[in-house]
């Protein structure tokens, strides 16, 4: 099916709040983003910026104390926030799949991987034998050597990189249209990280699926993604194509974030590492004005008084900052 807008996923003005005792944490505020069909979109930001809340809200897997207070999530012509829970359940794992950060906790330790790969096809009415064949095929696609023989092995018999490959095999078995990956390489070594990224690229090319890729590793995002969304303290501060973001940075936060990446530092003689001074703002009692204002090195007078609107600075490149 061709999406009328060319976007498989459209998030509009999404806001999420968490209730904690008597306080209300405004974790996401007015988040809008698009995932174009067949593209990879990266979500970048530091801890506490709302990346995980965003994907859990899209999947409708938020904790019971969370409330979606506004917005829409359009997927395949439907608002996911309005579909009945039963329909949502049948979307998860078939149309939208998710790869988690730590494969050791997302695989069941007491069930063989073959059994788990067959179990995820529970909606299919095909024979056990054909499900088994599909499981073996999925394993060989993610680069598990001798997949038929490894079907009876348990997760602990695999190394970290192999486990993450199995977790990826599990998500692609139903050929989803949208894959959500939550920091899939943070638990892995650098040499494995490149292998997994390479694998994801291959899979995306083969299945033409769209990927929403959450990461804090800028190098990986630059390598893998077509579009990038930068989040800070629950808001989208900048978004655009990967070249816009890496070659034409606009928002002071994105600028600082990139400076801090150790890979960007040019050898300096005084041996000092860049940082962003200050702390995240309080999400219970939000500051008036720009959310990044207190830590911003280019703040203007109006930044403390009024929150900036999101402005388009170039086609497809939007920034929420008073400087533009």
């Amino acid at each position: 099916m061709v999406e009328p807008t060319g976007n498989i996923l459209q998030v509009r003005n999404l806001s999420v709040e968490f209730k904690a005792r008597k306080r209300v944490i405004k974790a996401l505020r007015d988040v809008s983003l698009d995932v174009p069909t067949g593209k990879i979109v990266g979500v970048v930001g530091e801890s506490g910026c709302g990346k995980s809340t965003l994907i859990l809200a899209i999947m409708r897997l938020l904790a019971p104390n969370a409330a979606i207070t506004g917005g829409e999530v359009h997927f395949g012509g439907r608002d996911l926030l309005k579909v009945p829970e039963a329909d949502m359940q049948s979307l998860r794992g078939t149309d939208i799949s998710m790869i988690f950060q730590d494969p050791l906790t997302s695989l069941n330790p007491v069930v063989s991987i073959g059994r788990q790969l067959i179990d995820v096809q529970y909606r299919d009415r095909s024979s056990l034998d054909s499900k088994r064949q599909r499981a073996i095929q999925a394993l060989s696609q993610v680069g598990i050597p001798d997949p038929a023989a490894r079907m009876d092995a348990y997760p602990h018999e695999f190394s970290g990189g192999m486990r993450q490959r199995i977790a990826i095999a599990m998500t692609i078995i139903e050929e989803p249209r949208l894959l959500i990956a939550d920091e899939p390489t943070t638990a892995l070594d650098a040499t494995l990280e490149v292998q997994i990224i390479h694998e994801l690229k291959e899979l995306q090319r083969r299945y033409q699926c769209s990927i929403l890729f959450v990461s804090h590793h800028l190098g990986v995002v630059a390598d893998l993604c077509d579009y990038v969304i930068v989040m800070y303290a629950g808001e989208v501060v900048e978004q655009g194509s990967v070249r816009d973001l890496f070659h034409d940075v606009r928002h002071p936060y994105t600028e600082k974030l990139m400076e801090c990446d150790p890979a960007r530092i040019v050898r300096s003689t005084e041996r000092s590492f860049p940082t962003i001074p200050g702390d995240l703002p309080d999400l219970v009692d939000l500051p008036s004005g720009c959310i990044f204002g207190a830590r911003c090195h280019r703040a203007l007078q109006q930044c403390a008084a009024e929150a900036p609107d999101t402005r388009t600075v170039a086609p497809g490149h939007a920034v929420a900052c008073h400087l533009y």
């Binding site: 970290g160 990280e193 490149v194 630059a222 070249r243 890496f246 150790p262 590492f273």
Partner: protein
């Protein structure tokens, strides 16, 4: 000049099977976590240990502070042999060698306040002639935390603040060598710099030698004077950090250097150099232990272990076919 810390032929092993069962099943009874490592650190120098998980970095560090027992080799600190010392005889040296653990929140007791945490070393070493209040304030000031943190508990600290408390604890007794095990793991990039700057500043001011364990090579370039690359419990290459970045000689070092993608969408990506993962250190590969993953391995590599080659600059590597240097 003799080094402050001199490690020679150090081996640490863990028993994975009982000797009888190992014999019956014809398998190795021991896992050789550290397998003959030699290096030295001079006073005030920073040395980086780099390697993938399971390469034995943390075990090596734990052996140096005496948490693991070495089964062969020697560790000399300031000329004194530490291997084989009894627990009591070790204690005075532990004041001079301190360790900052990988997981800051996990290594701080959740039931102690920051003040108790940073002054705990004085109690452990029964140092009575100090005013703990004064010391706690001095230490917090040293790591850049205000006095209001004295009464806080670990759960009230952010990741970066918990690291700072970890640094304060490690520095409480003015050690001469600080071992920092992955000091930036799990921290956001904007905070990583803070912790590394703090370590660099303390080193410059107090002349502490630092052994940093990390897997982020870019951090090493800006932090360390020298570095050693570990693979399966051995050093495959060691030498001055800047020299190794410009002219890596071991194929593994080169692969590690190119495995971190550049934060630039138009960068030319080198082809994948390493396939697979670190081999098992129980059933070790024959010959050169890196040969199953090596992009330039030849038949010779799978049978004969390569000798170590050293250059005049103190750069040494273990490879049959090292990458040619330009000069």
């Amino acid at each position: 000049m003799p080094g402050l810390l001199e490690v020679d032929g150090l081996r640490v092993r863990y028993r994975v099977l009982s000797p009888l069962r190992a014999r019956l099943q014809q398998r190795e009874a021991y896992l050789q976590a550290v397998c003959g490592v030699s290096f030295s650190i001079s006073a005030g120098e920073s040395f980086a240990l780099v390697g993938e998980s399971g390469s034995g970095k943390s075990t090596l560090a734990r052996a140096i502070v005496g948490i693991e027992t070495a089964h062969a080799g020697s560790i000399r600190f300031d000329g004194q042999e530490l291997c084989g010392l009894s627990k009591n005889a070790y204690k005075p040296y532990r004041r001079q060698l301190s360790m900052m653990f990988q997981d800051p929140a996990g290594s701080l007791s959740p039931r102690l306040t920051v003040k108790r945490l940073v002054t705990e070393p004085f109690k452990i070493h029964a140092i009575k002639d100090v005013d703990l209040d004064v010391e706690a304030r001095r230490l917090l000031q040293m790591v850049g935390l205000s006095e209001e943190f004295l009464g806080r508990y670990p759960h009230q600290l952010s990741g970066g603040q918990a690291r700072r408390v970890g640094v304060a604890r490690a520095l409480a007794l003015s050690p001469r060598l600080l071992i920092a095990d992955e000091p930036t793991a799990g921290l956001d990039v904007s905070v990583q710099g803070e912790v590394l700057n703090l370590l660099l500043e303390l080193q410059a001011r107090h002349g502490i030698a630092i052994l940093i364990i990390t897997h982020n090579l870019k951090v090493v370039l800006h932090f360390a004077d020298r570095m050693g690359i570990m693979y399966l419990g051995r050093f495959v290459e060691q030498g001055p950090a800047s020299e190794m970045f410009q002219r890596p000689r071991h194929p593994y070092t080169r692969a590690l250097l190119s495995s971190s993608p550049e934060p630039d969408p138009d960068a030319v990506r080198p082809p994948l150099q390493l396939k697979g993962e670190v081999s098992s250190n129980i059933e070790r590969p024959r010959g050169c232990e890196f040969h199953p993953r090596c992009p330039v391995a030849q038949a010779h590599c799978s049978t004969v272990a390569p000798p170590a080659t050293s250059t005049v600059q103190g750069h040494s590597f273990t490879c049959h076919f090292p990458i040619e240097s330009d000069d």
